[in-house]
């Protein structure tokens, strides 16, 4: 029996290997596989076994080893991460508001960099958690773990009361940029405002892509995760280093001009209850702090004479307010126009489009996606139908994202003509990263 078994097998093997050398992927292997399984089927009928080559019965008392399957990271450790986050946030809030200690904040941010950055390799992350939360709304089958949800909610809840202490030292991405600030330059206001629109765009795209189940772009284009892991695709390493080099002069560029989570944090921080102040008690207008903020987040006292001279008044406010609907409409229009383009990021849509626009691609043996699809037995009609459903989602989603962007642009413009009376130097609550640098410059005793 054994002899026979061996010989027959050898025969198959030779026959098949001849075939195998000719082809790379797909059909041929399948076909030969069919022939093989047919032969094996007959063969195995005789032996009465399920497998092609049944497990032998050993006479030497051989003991079969077990397949090694190392356990994933313990669940308790994930909860420990949440606890670390809570402790870090509370400590920073205390150091900031009670101790007014820049040094303390700096030490905590270094700890964050070591723990959440290099030890946890930037992955568990509040910024990325936006996408998990979004997907859990959009896809009823997607379950979100408690730890991820907490990582999303806890920093926002803290920010609502104490300002962006998360940015100050609980975010590894912020921490790594904070330590490389050498000679920050002040950007002109218009540039700050314009670049400040990018996070809104990034957020809307991230939500759009996550909700359609297409991609997690925040994680994919995280510039620093490669540095934390000391391993990434070349272009991502270049991007990360470029951000750090830029960050020497334009302080924390990712936080200010890209981070999608900063949008939510900034909303919360604007209405925070106990936001940090530059002076512990009363501002004496010494202007020492005026240039202390590397992020241009200190609002100067309003010069009322200038406001009147510039002629910005209720009239312009009214105009800007009235054109907001136009901005929204424009955004919706642009969104509707771009949904076809955006939906191509979805692999299903991309594949369906490729197969329709270029049917010869079916003969391309090197295109793994096409060949796998063809051999999966799924028909083109089903794929197209799936792609259409996704594209429909993109249609609605990009219109919403566009409308949101229109609203943001309109409101930003409106904000440029709103003047709040300020007598003192104050941190801009939305943009202030609560790093506490300015506090060091304030001569007022506590």
């Amino acid at each position: 029996m054994n002899r026979f078994h061996k010989n027959t097998k050898q025969l198959f093997f030779k026959f098949l290997s001849a075939n195998w050398r000719k082809v790379k992927w797909g059909f041929e292997i399948r076909r030969s596989f069919l022939i093989l399984s047919f032969l094996i089927f007959n063969f195995s009928l005789a032996s009465g076994q399920q497998q092609r080559f049944p497990k032998p019965e050993f006479s030497t008392g051989y003991e079969q080893p077990s397949t090694i399957v190392p356990e994933p990271r313990a669940l308790a450790l994930e909860y420990f991460d949440v606890a670390v986050l809570l402790v870090v946030l509370s400590l920073i809030s205390w150091l900031l508001l009670k101790k007014r200690s820049r040094q303390g904040v700096l030490w905590i941010s270094l700890f964050t960099l070591a723990y959440f950055g290099f030890y946890r390799e930037g992955c568990i992350c509040s910024i990325g958690a936006i996408q998990n939360v979004t997907l859990s709304f959009a896809d009823p089958n997607y379950a979100i773990s408690v730890t991820t949800l907490l990582f999303f909610v806890v920093p926002l809840a803290f920010t609502l009361f104490v300002g962006r202490t998360f940015c100050a030292g609980a975010c590894p991405l912020g921490a790594i940029q904070d330590v490389v600030i050498i000679k920050p330059i002040s950007l002109p206001k218009w540039l700050n405002k314009t670049l400040g629109l990018i996070p809104y765009l990034y957020l809307s795209l991230a939500v759009l892509f996550a909700a359609t189940g297409t991609d997690f772009i925040i994680c994919r284009y995280d510039p620093f995760v490669g540095i934390f892991r000391m391993d990434a695709k070349f272009h991502m390493v270049v991007l990360g280093i470029a951000f750090l080099l830029m960050g020497m002069f334009v302080a924390r560029p990712y936080c200010r001009f890209l981070c999608p989570y900063s949008v939510l944090l900034s909303w919360m921080s604007r209405f925070s209850k106990w936001h940090m102040t530059i002076t512990p008690s009363k501002c004496i207008q010494c202007k020492l702090c005026a240039n202390s903020c590397p992020f241009d987040a200190i609002d100067f006292p309003t010069n009322e004479k200038e406001v009147i001279k510039s002629g910005l008044g209720p009239k312009r406010f009214l105009t800007y307010a009235l054109i907001i609907p136009l901005w929204v409409a424009l955004g919706v229009f642009v969104g509707a126009k771009s949904h076809t383009f955006l939906s191509k990021a979805n692999p299903n849509v991309y594949l369906a489009e490729l197969l329709i626009s270029n049917p010869e691609i079916k003969n391309d043996k090197d295109n793994i996606d096409v060949q796998t699809f063809l051999s999966s037995g799924k028909t083109l009609e089903i794929l197209v139908k799936e792609a259409e459903v996704i594209r429909e989602k993109f249609y609605i989603g990009s219109m919403m994202a566009g409308g949101f962007m229109g609203l943001v642009i309109g409101m930003t413009l409106l904000n440029t003509v709103v003047f709040r009376k300020r007598q003192d130097y104050e941190p801009h609550r939305g943009n202030c990263l609560s790093c506490a640098r300015c506090m060091n410059y304030c001569p007022v005793e506590q």
Partner: protein, 189 residues
């Protein structure tokens, strides 16, 4: 002056409350699909087509995907489709006969005519060449799987994104492995 301050404070408090409420609503809505368990990535070995992308697209170098051996399914063949190159000159451990590009499979004689095949995990790059051979010519006891102590458990698996057969999905951390033998989710066809 005092009045304006009061009004501003009132508005601030109101907005803060509504922000708090909306944050609460979002979390409550997310709570509907929340689970206390954690999630990890796994390959469905019955869906896998051994396209080779696991070796190239993982954020880990070498990949966190390794070949695992379900010994219970192995035929212990001398002529192993996973170990030997098609048309190998001889059935021995000669480098020219081995299919594995990194010689990560150890072939050990047990008794005539049976051999045990053992994957040296440190050498395996997850290319799936042996899996293709074993699945095509043998029992399919060799298969690719994501090994959790190597995997970074990215929020979105970089391989899952490019997997042509969508074989990579999230599974609960309490049932962390889809290893053939235990995991017998037979294909429909």
């Amino acid at each position: 002056m005092n009045k304006t301050q009061n009004r501003r404070k009132f508005i601030q408090n109101g907005v803060r409350l509504s922000l708090l409420l909306s944050l609460g609503t979002v979390s409550a809505a997310a709570l509907r699909s929340v689970t206390g368990d954690d999630y990890v990535w796994q390959i469905d070995p019955f869906e896998c087509t051994q396209c080779g992308r696991c070796a190239t697209d993982c954020v880990k170098k070498p990949s966190a995907v390794k070949c695992v051996h379900a010994y219970a399914l192995c035929g212990y063949c001398d002529l192993c489709g996973g170990y030997l190159k098609p048309g190998a000159i001889a059935r021995d451990t000669g480098a020219e006969n081995q299919l594995c590009p990194t010689a990560a499979i150890e072939r050990k004689f047990i008794e005539e005519p049976y051999f045990e095949y053992h994957i040296i995990e440190d050498l395996c790059i997850g290319c799936g060449k042996c899996v293709k051979g074993c699945t095509s010519f043998g029992n399919g006891s060799l298969h690719l799987q994501i090994i959790h102590d190597i995997c970074d458990n990215c929020n979105e698996c970089a391989i899952a994104r490019v997997c042509p057969s969508n074989a990579i999905t999230r599974v609960k951390a309490s049932e962390a492995y889809k290893v053939k033998g235990d995991f017998t989710n037979k294909p429909k066809a």
